[in-house]
């Protein structure tokens, strides 16, 4: 009788141990890959360095993945030459499938000028990059991928809600050695390629919308970084050329 009871008790204990270990180690396995400090360290180094630059210019090649109504996936390309002067001046010349225009922001006004049609639209703008990009996106309806790196507090913004971060490998973009990083947060994955050495600059940036089945991405390749460009304030203020017609932004 006693042995029977003992046997039952041992069986119950053994079962409990088995069940517990299964639960505990499933959890451990699931949580093992998380935010790798090696990846966040490189990202922080890059954003700190970009934030420390008073002025810079860069060439960006922006590829927007899109799907036609026919179901075919296509790329829309826009290249831009961006010149930035902190705290609040920006000029971007864009040419490509979608656009042929110059964007001016001098801390007071923003202007979009289309040279081929000789038309422009001007709006009073907020006086910080942060507010200006927000205004661009929310009120005028256009996003600028590079803005993610321009914000003074770029690092906490990029790291917001990040659940997974890792260094993928060493890589090479346009012949420059760099670290390939991957970050993930709900709905969005982003990859950054940061150059090695004393100037940790972003060379490539891919943002993937993981909330849609097609996993569409916006790819930006950055080249010709100049961290000490010759910059004059007049570059950022738009003066309408002769015969230019003023038009407006459609409400968004």
């Amino acid at each position: 009788m006693n042995i029977l009871k003992l046997r039952a008790a041992v069986a119950v204990i053994a079962f409990l141990v088995f069940a517990l270990s299964a639960i505990v180690f499933t959890e451990v396995r699931a949580e093992a890959p998380a935010v790798d400090p090696a990846a966040t360290k490189i990202l922080k180094r890059m954003t700190d360095y970009l934030g420390s630059l008073k002025q810079f210019s860069v060439h960006t090649q922006n590829t927007l993945e899109d799907v036609l109504d026919s179901g075919h996936r296509i790329d829309l390309d826009v290249s831009a030459s961006v010149t930035l002067s902190r705290p609040n001046k920006l000029r971007s010349e864009r040419k490509g499938d979608l656009v042929d225009q110059v964007f001016y922001y001098d801390g007071k006004n923003l202007t979009l000028y289309n040279p081929s049609s000789n038309v422009y639209a001007t709006e009073t703008a907020p006086d910080t990059f942060e507010e200006m990009f927000k205004y661009l996106y929310e009120s005028l309806g256009f996003g600028t991928p590079i803005s993610d790196f321009v914000y003074p507090d770029a690092y906490p913004l990029l790291m917001q809600d990040v659940t997974f971060a890792t260094v993928i490998a060493k890589s090479s973009i346009n012949g420059v050695k760099c670290d390939h990083l991957l970050f993930s947060r709900p709905g969005v994955d982003f990859q950054v390629w940061v150059s090695e050495g004393s100037k940790p600059l972003p060379l490539k940036y891919v943002v993937t919308d993981t909330a849609i089945a097609g996993l569409m991405s916006v790819v930006t390749i950055m080249s010709d970084w100049n961290v000490k460009p010759t910059v004059k304030d007049v570059q950022f203020t738009f003066v309408p050329p002769k015969g230019a017609q003023k038009i407006s932004f459609m409400p968004f």
Partner: protein, 163 residues
């Protein structure tokens, strides 16, 4: 007593087996048993990741461009639908001329050709630039287009006859 020892031995062995199994699951590069166990672990993570994707909500500035492009193409699609609907209406109106309301609609469209509010990225052929009180329009066979930026795209929006 002998039975008790037997049972405890079995229990201890069972527990030891479980413990011994655990490092196998965690270490990927162990040659024995590792293939099956590692792939199972990845499968679990994969499912988790996929589930997260499905339930995810898009937030943050990083998605701005992607969302904007999707919206832009939606708007284009909507504009195209409007045009198609307008063409259908015109056809229906000219064929039937049944109700008075429909006749009015047809009359309104006959004067402008394309419904007011339609947005296109390229102008139809044969447009003439017209300037009315400092504002530039394109006169395209009786339909007047006003140039504007929609986001960062140059577009042409159909407006009421400004003349």
């Amino acid at each position: 007593m002998k039975k008790l020892l037997q049972i405890s031995a079995i229990a201890i062995t069972l527990i030891l087996m479980l413990i011994a199994d655990i490092p196998m699951m965690l270490i990927d590069d162990l040659p024995i048993l590792s293939v099956e166990l590692a792939s199972e672990a990845e499968a679990v993570l994969g499912v988790r990741r996929r589930t997260r994707r499905r339930t995810a909500v898009v937030v943050g500035s990083t998605t701005a461009a992607a969302t904007a492009s999707a919206e832009a193409s939606q708007q284009q699609a909507a504009a195209a639908e409007q045009q198609a609907a307008a063409a259908q209406q015109e056809a229906a109106a000219s064929q039937q001329q049944a109700a008075a309301a429909q006749q009015q609609l047809a009359a309104a469209q006959a004067s402008s050709g394309v419904p007011v509010g339609t947005v296109v990225q390229t102008l139809p052929a044969g447009c003439k630039p017209v300037t009315v009180s400092g504002v530039a329009y394109q006169d395209c066979g009786g339909s007047f287009y006003k140039t504007a930026f929609q986001g960062n795209n140059l577009v042409y929006a159909v407006v009421e006859n400004p003349l």
